[in-house]
């Protein structure tokens, strides 16, 4: 049997959108080279800890991937393998891949969860990854990551519209906010993604509907539960006017205890990841979800009332932007649509969402990876655009072979 000629290498520059490019490379099976990663930085050139950790994760869930770093870490060559998931004998123990996140990781766990959820439907076996270690932050972070709660309540339900809905779980086993100087946490999160498909269904989402209810989770780790009550009170003060069916659940937990070895006491432990936060999800009658997230900064000094109000305003802003997909969920939805069958899927997107930098860059990157371009036309609503995406039928490479 002769192997197909290797697809040409795609070249990218810069550290931005690294994860997005790696995911697209894995899905389409095209090798990429990313160069000049923070090349101009004198203090910390090359890949950041979270990026290295993500590459490790990619290596763990795929089979036959090749990753090569340059000496300084400013260039990465990635040849994707097959997405095997948590199949036995591939580094998964008892069907679970343990992924340790280093303590100097400044990104929330959703930085790993979102791309993993994008890869998971196309995996060969189910994906079952336990994120653990001293770097797992389940709350939202100042670096722009959403909380694990938002992933569960606002992102994972979106997969249902693509026909991916069974056996999906995101267990937040231990909560953690950002640790000191915004790095590290000590939480624990397990993602089980057991619904694999050959191709996601074609999506037609034209009507955003009206927001009918708002739900949310207020969490505080290692601090008084009264913070939750104050967050909820402030958020409800804003939101109750618009949606009387508002309910925010409260979750109080103790701070994670992570090992912090000292010279004369190697078994020492310390508490980390103290703080509180709020995750809000607004649900429209058509099933469209908008979300907002906020967490106390690691430096402190923000009263819960302010944060609750800010979060509520954020949610209102997301609703105001309109469309059937919010800012946070747009890349996931649009990528899945591009991976779908060779059929035109349509989705209404708010102009502000569509015009945002990540979405624009996603469109460009998809083009680079050989996907078809997007068709845009003015939507029915004010400030809305209907995006038509023709799938490429890339789908599940592992299924094709098997």
């Amino acid at each position: 049997m002769t192997t197909a000629p290797a697809p040409t290498l795609l070249k990218f520059i810069g550290s931005k959108y690294l994860v997005q490019r790696l995911v697209l490379a894995t899905l389409t099976g095209r090798p990429i080279r990313i160069s000049q990663i923070r090349a101009s930085s004198h203090s910390s050139p090359g890949l950041a800890p979270h990026e290295v950790s993500f590459l490790r994760l990619l290596d763990a869930i795929t089979n036959g991937a090749q990753i090569e770093f340059s000496y300084t870490g400013t260039t990465v060559l990635y040849k994707p393998g097959l997405i095997t998931g948590s199949a036995a004998g591939q580094g998964a123990q008892g069907g679970v891949i343990r992924h340790e996140v280093p303590a100097d990781c400044a990104r929330g766990v959703s930085y790993f969860l979102l791309p993993l959820c994008l890869l998971a439907p196309f995996s060969k076996a189910q994906i079952n990854v336990l994120f653990t270690g001293p770097g797992v932050i389940t709350s939202s972070t100042e670096t722009g990551d959403v909380s694990a709660d938002t992933v569960r309540t606002a992102i994972l339900p979106l997969f249902r519209s693509f026909g991916i809905e069974n056996n999906i779980e995101l267990r937040i086993l231990r909560r953690s906010n950002t640790g000191k100087d915004g790095k590290g946490g000590g939480g624990e999160v397990q993602l089980v993604f057991g619904h694999q498909v050959r191709l996601p269904k074609t999506l037609h989402l034209m009507n955003a509907g009206r927001v009918k209810r708002i739900r949310g989770v207020a969490y505080s780790t290692g601090v008084a539960g009264a913070n939750n009550a104050r967050l909820i009170e402030a958020a409800r003060g804003v939101l109750n006017e618009f949606a009387p069916d508002t309910y925010i659940f409260s979750d109080v937990s103790s701070a994670p205890f992570v090992p912090a070895p000292e010279r004369n006491n190697p078994a020492a432990k310390r508490k980390t990841g103290l703080g509180f936060g709020l995750s809000l999800v607004a649900e429209a009658n058509t099933g469209v979800l908008y979300s907002a997230d906020i967490a106390s900064p690691p430096s402190g000094g923000e009263p819960p009332e302010d944060l609750g109000k800010k979060c509520a305003f954020q949610l209102l802003e997301a609703v105001e932007q309109g469309g059937c997909v919010s800012n946070i969920a747009a890349p996931t939805m649009l990528t899945l649509m591009a991976m779908g069958s060779e059929d035109v899927g349509r989705i209404t997107v708010g102009k502000d969402v569509l015009g945002s930098e990540p979405v624009m860059q996603l469109a460009r990157d998809l083009r680079t990876f050989g996907m078809s371009g997007w068709g845009l036309r003015e939507g029915d609503g004010d400030g809305e655009v209907v995006v038509s995406i023709v799938g490429k039928g890339v789908g599940n490479v592992g299924r094709k072979i098997a």
Binding site: R152, T153, P157, R160, I168, E169, L170, R215, Y247, F249
Partner: protein
Amino acid sequence: MAVTLGKRKRTTGVVDRTDQNESDNEDARALFQRAFEAKFKPLESSAKPVKAAVKSHVGDEDDVDDDDGGNGNDESDWTGLSEDADEIVIEIVNHDVVRSEDEEARRREMKAFMSPKPPTSHHISPSVSKRPKVDSADDAKEGDNLKQDLALQRLLKESHLLDSSSLQGPTAAPEGKGRLKALELRLQDLGAKKPATEQVRMPLAHRKGIAAKATGREAARRKEAVENGIILEKAKLAARPEKHRERGVIAPGVGKFRGGTLKLSSRDVKSIEGPQQRMGGKGRKR
């Protein structure tokens, strides 16, 4: 000190005679009142006796608290609640029922939302079993029909088990051994794999004997049938145990691999090729 404490405790435990008398009195009065009200119309002042009881209770406690238990009379300087308090009508509003229902729904929703699964968009309403109303006469008829139907089915299926003795009873049902056999049949109909009456543990000799007897009986029956010219059903051949194909770990799943060569029989080749497809044209030309 301990002694006095004990004494004090005892005094609290003692039931006041007068109080009990009074309560007996009250009970009697309440009884009478109820009887009266049942016959005529409700009386106006029904709250009075309760008030009295409260007052007397307070008085008792005061008595207990008195350190010098020597005098032990009911009269003390505190005369209980003032008369003005009686005029205040205490209205009790109970929200308990509504609250519990609300709480239930909230808890259910919390469970749904906070579970590890992504929350579903549609709200799951509490399971209310709606049963279509059927008038009782129709229902009874339907039930009767079903019963008769079942009886008929059973009669048809198990009629071979019936004998003269079983027909004497009020209902024609097999009895004794026949009943057990009928049960067995019903179980098999429901999908039982093995007979329930089969003995699981038994000496090997017995088992062999039973098997031998069964095969002997079957053979005798067949022989008799042949002699009498009766055609029986075809004898079922015992399933042969499947031969285990010896195969190496990485050996191919087809053919025989001996001495470094893979030998394919013509059957193997056919199985690999699959059903022959006709080449173009219509049959062979002559």
